[in-house]
């Protein structure tokens, strides 16, 4: 069954790619645009290492001396081995880590129709007991969102409500100030309710900068994390089947 769904999706993707070539001459409608994005997402993800595990990023400094630079650290927890940061990029087993974002938000308000995920947690707890973070209040700025496929998207970081599960954000990539673009992990924090959401489908490189709102430590180097925003597999299969049925109707 799974192979069948994959085949249907692949077949439909190839068909829509052909349509894309045609539509460049005739003008592209939104349905085709979405389809091309899906195809590009599929291929981009295949070229990278999809990261399924739930992982953590945290902050550290060299010694906790004022002026020390904040460092973003990955792979420090027992279950997170395999994740490293190199060349300002989050890697999984030495390759670009890609986090699938598949959950379509169905909730009232601004985030209805966005896609959400919670496979990355931003924390500030792990090195707190060493004294390296003393005096700091650690924020995670969404410094940029670069589409590799798909159109521009707004990216937000926030929390899922304990009560109704609804997502709300405290940091937006479109925020005017650094504070508006930043998610607060304070000091020695490990919040399990957090998550993130994208406004559009596509593959995106999100660049994070950790900084200290108390001004004791200097900004971290940027770290880029790749996200593949794509409907859940069930939705993809339905999408592919719908496309096939449309084709058959046109031919009939």
């Amino acid at each position: 069954m799974r192979e069948c769904i994959v085949f249907v999706f692949f077949f439909e993707s190839m068909r829509l790619t052909s349509l894309k070539i045609y539509s460049e001459m005739s003008g592209m409608n939104s349905m085709k645009t979405v389809s091309i994005v899906l195809f590009a997402s599929f291929t981009c993800a295949a070229l990278s290492t999809t990261a399924h595990a739930h992982i953590h990023l945290t902050v550290n400094t060299a010694s906790g001396t004022p002026g020390d630079q904040v460092q973003i650290v990955a792979g420090y927890l027992a279950a997170d081995t395999g994740y490293t940061i190199s060349g300002n990029r989050l890697l999984f087993n030495g390759e670009i880590a890609v986090f699938d974002v598949t959950e379509l938000l169905d909730q009232p308000g601004d985030f209805n129709g966005w896609y959400s995920g919670d496979e990355i947690l931003l924390t500030s707890d792990f090195y707190a007991a060493t004294g390296n973070l003393d005096g700091g209040n650690f924020m995670w700025e969404i410094a940029s969102v670069d589409p590799l496929s798909g159109g521009p998207a707004t990216f937000a970081w926030g929390e899922f409500s304990d009560e109704d599960g609804e997502f709300s954000a405290s940091a937006f990539s479109t925020g005017l100030t650094q504070l508006d673009r930043s998610f607060d992990t304070a000091f020695a924090q490990h919040n399990h309710d957090q998550g993130y959401a994208f406004s559009a489908l596509g593959v995106y490189d999100v660049t994070l900068i950790a900084w200290d709102s108390n001004g004791l430590y200097s900004n971290s180097d940027p770290v880029t994390v790749r996200f593949n925003v794509i409907p859940a597999p069930g939705a993809l299969a339905l999408f592919g089947l719908a496309g096939l049925s449309r084709t058959r109707r046109r031919r009939a």
């Binding site: 420090y76 027992a78 279950a79 707890d125 707190a128 304990d162 304070a186």
Partner: protein, 251 residues
Amino acid sequence: MQRILAIVLLLALSSLALAHNHLTVDTLSGQPGDPIIIKAGYLSGENVYTISNNRLFYNGHIAVYDLPFQLTQTGDLHNWFGNSALVLTSDFFFATGRLTGGDFMWELASVTPIAGSACIASWGDFNTSGILIPSALSNAAARIDRSFDTGIAGHDHNQACAFSTPGLYDLTFIAWDRNNRYADSAPVKVRFRVGPASIPGDTNFDSHVNIDDLTNVILEWGPCDACPADLNADGVVNIDDLTTVILNWNS
């Protein structure tokens, strides 16, 4: 009016106990033979949790975790009461070097009923299908089978506890090192209120409000922290608790 007040107070108590918090391990200096220390309140936002006299407290009162909901899953824990309000970890002090060489387990050393009948406690992880799989059972013969493994620098978000029967229980934890580098921790008791709290005045979790509950109120009259008859959780069994029992008589 009293009835409404009692319900509101019980709901307030429930929300308090549903807060998510962590326990972790530490040692004095990381030297072989150091005893493990169970710690609470070390994370931002959790400093209201403290451990004193081998007991977990919340805001100076005995911390109580409510488990009102039954697990609907099939298998061993079918219809047990569970939640994820308490997370056992071994990560926070790892970077200090004080946990170097250890592999940390949390033994469910005993389950003492304060009210209700004998009960089995378990600790485990949800699998990818959302089924809670127990890895530690309080009635297991071997210590390893009574213990939940947080490993080295572990911070597992999928864990949860489950209890077999409704009641009010003190679960005693002992943290120990499977690598035998560090000595066992002192025991720490954590209180769990298991089962639906839908019947105000039911002090013994038998789903009835009757002479047994009235007796409990009388026997526990006066200052009494998180005891079954302290129905409004104000730290004292008094006329308010007695009124709750009377108003719900024969419920």
